[in-house]
Symmetry: C2
């Protein structure tokens, strides 16, 4: 089966080098790098990344050769994680919009607590200046033309919504609300340095919000 997202040769080479690494160390490197590149390609420094990841400069360049290669690896890794989470693990046959969204959000929150900056990293890819990697990013983003919200929400059963409100508008409101929630949680984690996975808390809060939507927006 064709993978959802095709990684570049550069990424595959880096992956083989990282394979023999301790899993926890690998995550530390990726997480630190995501966070650093949140500032934009040019403002991110390899010095900061190695400092935060707790490895030496030599190691980083041993794995990745250049800053640009590291960045490409991160782009591939982030895109692959997001897409495979949404489109292979998520149940696209679930026709209840709220159930599907709840699943999506919780999946996203799980990713966010492993890599707090992954969403900001992807946003920055989209709105920021990717320096010498611009060409690569544009090409990859072009492929995922997506309306990814459209794909993710395609085929949901809108007839569950009340008839006296605009269904598309209601969906938009719901998506905005969860975006606001995820954003504020990511901010909180960065501000406090919290790196835990509060799965139960997220589950509870998302369920509460969903409960309100279900009660108020559904027939």
């Amino acid at each position: 089966m064709k993978p959802i997202y095709e990684k570049s040769a550069i990424t595959l080479e880096i992956e083989t080098k990282l394979l023999q690494l301790d899993g926890e160390k690998k995550q530390r490197i990726i997480s630190a790098a995501f966070d650093e590149f949140t500032k934009g390609y040019k403002n991110a420094t390899t010095d900061n990344i190695v400092k935060r990841a707790g490895i030496s400069k030599g190691s980083l360049f041993h794995y990745c050769k250049t800053k640009k290669n590291l960045f490409i690896y991160l782009v591939d890794t982030a895109m692959d994680m997001i897409l495979s989470e949404f489109f292979t693990k998520g149940d696209l046959k679930e026709s209840d919009a709220l159930k599907r969204i709840q699943e999506m959000i919780l999946t996203e929150m799980k990713l966010v607590s492993k890599f707090p900056s992954i969403i900001k990293f992807l946003t920055e890819l989209y709105i920021g200046d990717n320096g010498e990697a611009t060409e690569y990013v544009d090409e990859k983003m072009g492929l995922i033309t997506v309306d990814y919200m459209g794909m993710a929400l395609g085929g949901v059963d809108l007839s569950l919504f009340r008839d006296d409100i605009d269904h598309a508008e209601a969906l938009k409101v719901i998506m905005f609300a969860f975006r606001g929630y995820a954003e504020s949680e990511a901010d909180r984690m960065k501000a406090t340095g919290d790196k835990e996975l509060h799965y139960d808390k997220y589950n509870e809060e998302v369920s509460k919000m969903n409960e309100i939507f279900r009660r108020c927006f559904y027939k």
Copy 2:
């Protein structure tokens, strides 16, 4: 009457220098600086600011003397704009939560279209590293102990909400939804370089969202 926010002497001095400036030029400088400091104090460079503002390095330092002074001026300007918008122009006697929120959001959107990065700038003040200006920022932020959401929403009439949902939770959902909307609009503006004030569009979209909340969350 005591002003809501007290500006520092440094800021007042800079303001007198900027006073004789063309208003459009002044806004360009502030806007470029907000956007640049979004990366955090240390990562922001005066070179980038002057480039984006379209002025010379000499001018910037003529107005502000040092990078730190410029930053303090921006902190004061952003805080003053936000606070005076919310607490003097907003009607704090309006007890209908949705009406009050709608007013707040539209005020915020107006600010955002003048200074697309102002919200991110303030967020970064809160969660980021403010370098040599840390002391100043902490002192000023300390004064606005805020729960600013609490102040802004204090005294609203919760009895308008349906009884079968948690009122506080419903308010949170509403605030998250508008945060998500404002954030996505700021992203869109940065990505497309759009600098217009689409007041009518915002008014329409916010009204649509509010209409849904009113119909679904109120009795």
